[in-house]
Each structure stands twice: as structure tokens, then as C-alpha cells.
């Protein structure tokens, strides 16, 4: 399946990926509303790690044999048969943080605004190209077959 990869050599740490991720997953899908009006503001599912000159965006790797899925005792995490994407059912999640504990990439996070609901990348469900990849101004993110 296709996954998102980062080329840290050309990641400029502009964080546009985070911004567009938030917009994409906001109710209005409008950047101004998403940031000014929509409260609580949702978390980006990609986040840019940065230290000195090094920076890169990171989001769920959608593992073949996901630890998070094995650890999830609420059944909120599941693998989409078709795409193989690891998805998350907010209804079912109880916020036990087992996934947070086991994810070796540390890309599942607690969304404190929406209480307990862990937040993770969904590859922009059904989108041809995830917005973070599409909107990266320097092509530092690529969406390709593993």
C-alpha cells in the first residue's frame, strides 16, 4: 500500500503540513474558520519535529502488523481491509493510552480538547493524495508504495 515518507533533507520546517492537516480534518474545511472559530481546535495528525536545522514531519506509519492495534483493548483501532490504513473509531475509544504506550513511532497522541480521544493520521480517507503531501511547498513529503 502507499505510505507517506519524509525527506528531512528538504523539509523546511514551515509546518504547512500541520496547518493543512487541521483544515482538512476541521468541520468547515476552511482555514480561517478552522483556526479562528472552531473550538476546541483539533490537533494536527502530522507534527513536525524540529531541532536546530533538522526538521521533518511525522505521522502514523500504518504498520503491517501494528502494535497499537494489538494493544487496543477497546477495539477503537482497526485496519481498513482495502487500503491497509490503520484507522481509529472515536466513539469506541476510552483513552486507555495503550496505543500511545506501544507505538514505536510515537505518532498517536492524546487529543486533550476532545477528551481522551487519541488522534492519529487517517491518510485523509479516500483522498488521492493526503493534504500534508499535496500541500508541502518543498516536496519534502512523498506518498508512494512501500
Amino acid at each position: 500500500m502507499k505510505r507517506i515518507f519524509v525527506k528531512e533533507e528538504v523539509c523546511i520546517g514551515c509546518r504547512l503540513c500541520e496547518i493543512h492537516c487541521v483544515v482538512e480534518h476541521s468541520k468547515s474545511k476552511n482555514i480561517i474558520k478552522a483556526f479562528k472559530d472552531e473550538n476546541p481546535r483539533i490537533l494536527p495528525r502530522i507534527f513536525v519535529e524540529e531541532k536546530g536545522k533538522v526538521s521533518f514531519g511525522l505521522q502514523c506509519r500504518h504498520c503491517e502488523e501494528p502494535y497499537c492495534l494489538e494493544a487496543c483493548m477497546s477495539g477503537a483501532l482497526y485496519k481498513d481491509e482495502k487500503t491497509g490504513a490503520v484507522l481509529h473509531n472515536r466513539e469506541q475509544c476510552v483513552g486507555c493510552w495503550m496505543c500511545v504506550m506501544v507505538c514505536p513511532y510515537g505518532v498517536i497522541r492524546r487529543d486533550l480538547n476532545e477528551k481522551k480521544i487519541a488522534s492519529k493520521c487517517d491518510l485523509c480517507l479516500g483522498k488521492e493524495i493526503p493534504v500534508c503531501v499535496a500541500r508541502c511547498p518543498n516536496e519534502a513529503l512523498e506518498y508512494r508504495e512501500v
Partner: protein, 481 residues
Amino acid sequence: MCIRQCAFEGHSYDPEKNEVISKEDVCVGCHRCVTLCPTNALTIRQTPLDFRANANWTARAIRDIIKQSETGGVLLTGMGNDRPYPIYWDHLLINASQVTNPSIDPLREPMELRTYLGRKPERLELDGNGGNYRPKEPLPPQLKLETPILFSAMSYGAISYNACESLARSAHALGIYYNTGEGGLHPNLYKYGKNTIVQVASGRFGVHKEYLDAAAAIEIKIGQGAKPGIGGHLPGEKVVEDISKTRMIPKGTDALSPAPQHDIYSIEDLRMLIYALKEATQYTKPISVKIAAVHNSAAIASGMVRAGADIIALDGFRGGTGAAPTVIRDNVGIPIELALASVDQRLRDEGIRHQASIVVAGGFRNSADIFKAIALGADAVYIGTSALIAMGCHVCQKCYTGNCNWGIATQDPYLEKRLNPDIATERLINLIHAWSHEIKEMLGGMGINAVESLRGNRLALRGIGLTDTELDILKVLPAGR
């Protein structure tokens, strides 16, 4: 966003007021923030604040004086001459054929831009007979260009590694050449040697056997259009690890190129260096000599050809630079159009035009400029600034600060990353493809299907709004005649 993007700290966040404020005085107008702002909230306008109108004491004149009276220093600048001198390209018009001579559709008919740069014999001597003749001796070394465009000398140091890599990769893909400038050749780029012209300049940075052997041709740099008679100065902070290695100078020391080449004080000396380099490379590579277009270029060029130069590179006063004293850039040298016209004519008058190819540089903005240059007599054209613009440069003229927001004229690893070589390479290739296609269209329109029939064909041009003297120098007819 804007705050992180601006290397000149033009934007800052005020926590009290919880808003982003901008400082117009440091803004260089590079458009980085405008381009990246996700909400298109930004635009940049000339600040309306100006001095009382005065034709002589312009704002620029006044500001310069203020700045210099504060610092007591020479004013620096980047890119090419930005003053409103006449641009002769805009006074030359191109011909097209009607009725009596069919124009040619480059998409259907062969349309040839291939160009060979280098010394050519006056006549071809053949061996053999009936059906299989072959040249008595092989031609002198030639540079094969699939389209008559090259990337001008821009040194690693003046521009970032990513920029160099992009130029090298696109030259390789296009079957043309890029020029290392005087910054030496980074080890990773040796693999593009077949498309590399290496420069030997007054600083002799990074010049050694492998460097010369790696290249397709060698260029001796005497002068640069943006700063004729002036040396170069790469400030120490730009001389980072890699650069110091490549240039073979201590890390952090200023890289100073003397104004003259201290082993060239006369034309005989030039001849010696040319032949030294030819010897060093067993006469396998054409040797180019680059000079700034100055008042007596024609005579100098003739001397250079007789001194053994295979390629004459002429750099007009609109040629770019990473850093030059503003007063020099804006006042020294002559337009490339006139220099080219007189050099080409002079070499023909002396019957030695075939002994060297002419490559011109200096502010070429589009395919028409290039087309007109070839019609005036150039074999090919060096483009620098337009290549940078293709890569993302917005001509803010702050190259000398090393804070290039587009990751081109900088060595700051944080800024350098902003230039993704994959993207830049693709954009450069696109630009050259586009221009080549336009040149083909113009050739076809004239009913010509090979660029050699345009080269020096000044009947393809007509002048408009030019004085008789200018027409005479350019050797073109006025429009309508």
C-alpha cells in the same frame, strides 16, 4: 509561518497584542512569506513614504548617502545592474517569412539547435576519394550543445550546494553545460563532469589536476560583467566545512579573489596560461576566456583569439553577481548587445571568426533575447539570473547578505534546505525546453531550419528607435527597410 520563513526577521509575534507585526525597513521584497502564507493574507508594497520629489536627489541617492555617512563603507549589492540604461534587445525586431518562402513548423519538420563550441579550422582538408572521404585530421575539441544555452558561472559559496547540484543535474539532462565559477567542484558533482565547465579565476580556488580533468571545458575568468576590474570576496562565515574543502582554504577565512590574475599582466601571459591549461589536459578540452564587456572589447577579443582562446565569453554590464560594490555594478562596463556586435564584426574583419566561438552573458531574460544575440553573431548564450529565477529567486538583490530566503545564495543549512534539488532541476529543464521551443518557432517563422543559418545573420533583425550610430554598430537595418 511568515515569522519562521523570513531570514531578515521582517515579521515578529507580539504576545501582548497577540498579533504578528511586520517591519518594512528590513523587508527585501523576496516574496517568501507571500508565497508560503496559507491564507494569502500577505502582500508587499513599496512603502509610500518617500522623500520630496527631486529629479537629481532621488530617494536612492539620498538613502545611499545617509547609509555611507553612517558606515563609511562601500555600498554592496547583488544581481545585475538595475539602472534604466537602454536595453537594446527591446529595440531589435525579428523577421518572418511570408508567401515567397514557406515558414516551417518545428513540430513537423526538423528544426536544429545543436551547436558546437570551439575553435574550427578555416577549411576542411580531406583524405580518401570516391565515396569515402574523411577529414585529414580530427577537429579541435568541441563542446556539443543540444540547444545554444549554458548556465553561467556561479560558484559554490556564492550559491548553495543544492543550487549547484540542480544546475549540474539539469545541464546533464539537457545536454548543455553549467559553469562552476571559481568555487571549485564539489566531489559529489564530479559525476556531471561531462556537462561541466570549470573556471580558473584569480583566486585559483579548488584548482587541481582532477578538477581540470573532470571538466568538459576550462574557462579562464578575467572579468565579470557586474564588476569589471574588481575581485571577489566570499565572507568567512560563508566558508563552511564543505566549502573550505572544495575551495581548499581554511574554514571560516574570507575567500578573496584578487582583481587581476596575478600571473596575467599582459596578453602574452594569457597565452601562456591558456597553453599551460591545454598542456595540462593534453589538448582535449576547449579553453574559454571570460571577460567583462568593456569599451575596447573588440580589440581585446581579437587578442584573446590570437592568444589561443577557443571560446570567448563576453559578460555584459547587466550580468549578475553574488556581491559587488553598487557603484561598480551600476557604472562600469557596456551593454552586451553592443559589445557582441563589435566583437563579432571585428573577428570577421580579421578573418578569424572561425577560430573561436562567442558565448555572451549578461541579463538574458527570455528566448527572444537569446535569439537576437545569436542573430547578432553569438554562438551561444550564458544564462545566470534567469536560471536562478527558475529555481525560485525573486531578484531581491540581497545575495551578498547570505540570508537568501529561497535557499539559493546562502550557506545557512536551515535556509539551504528550502531549495529542493529535485524541484529546481525540473524547473530548470522546463525553462530551457520552453525557450528552445520558442527559438525553434522563431526560426521556423523565418523559414530557417538550422540555428547556424541564424548565427550572425543580422538581416534577421531590424532596429527600432535606434540612432544611426547604434544601427551602424549593431550592423542592422532600421525597421521598414
